[in-house]
Amino acid sequence: MAGSDVVTRAAPDTVKILIAGGFGVGKTTMVGSVSEIAPLRTEERLTLASVDVDDLAGIEEKHATTVALDFGRITIGQDLVLYLFGTPGQQRFWFMWNDLALGALGAVVLIDVRRPETSFAAIDFFERRKIPFVVGVNGFYGDHPYPPDEIRDALALPEHVQVLLCDARERESSRDVLIALIDQLIESATR
């Protein structure tokens, strides 16, 4: 910011965490269950920031599209606010998450065990960009037919990525997934 800016009131520091996963996997539900405000929706114009992927070879101009984002807020303290952003569920927009992912502490990838393949693109995206993430297995109606280790194997996830069974409708359950992500970040920082 310009050095001449006059600060009138202390604005809080802000950080964000992304809630990703396939369409209809419960991203907005999770945002809503922990947010102190009802999830807000806004439209953002996302651009294809870099052309470093084979599928997109030959595309030289920047492409942009408008996607709807759902987000929520958790006030951590007077001077710190955490925002949660649900990433757009449409897979064809995965490459536009670059803009969204920039500056995120990390991500939660939600998985529906009935159709886990809808969240593969999200896992792949964060792995490639080395953005820390945990996997939340959202059990619809609280149903969890598979243990976390089995899901980890099925998804070929590395050992350090936590897999948690959760219910995105429940505040405590969603909160615990976020805490697991922060713990993972703390652990990798102190390793």
Binding site: T8, R9, T42, E43, L105
Partner: protein, 118 residues
Amino acid sequence: MGGGDTAGRLVRPFALTGGRTRPSRADFTLITTVTAVDPPPTWATRPQPEHQRILRHCAEPLAVAELAALLDLPVSVVVIMLCDLLEAGRITARPPHPVTCNPDLDLLQKVRDGLGRL
């Protein structure tokens, strides 16, 4: 989305920005916090109605994404207007906490403690 504006918007969004589709400054992210400068600078002229709405909403610090949701306008449109207001000295903007490869442990601990209180 915003209130009971069932009749739809009368002004097309980019008409509010004088046809510009790109901000003059790229430093407004979704979680950049903006705050109206109060009192306004002595040289300030009367802002346009949409700018005035923004100033009202950010009398207290507010993130760009929240502002866009409250105004029911695309983020890109709001950012262009925020650039005008920043250049006119009517708002201040605070960028988000920088995230680097070496995470800030104090910050992470604060976030963890805050989540634990939920």
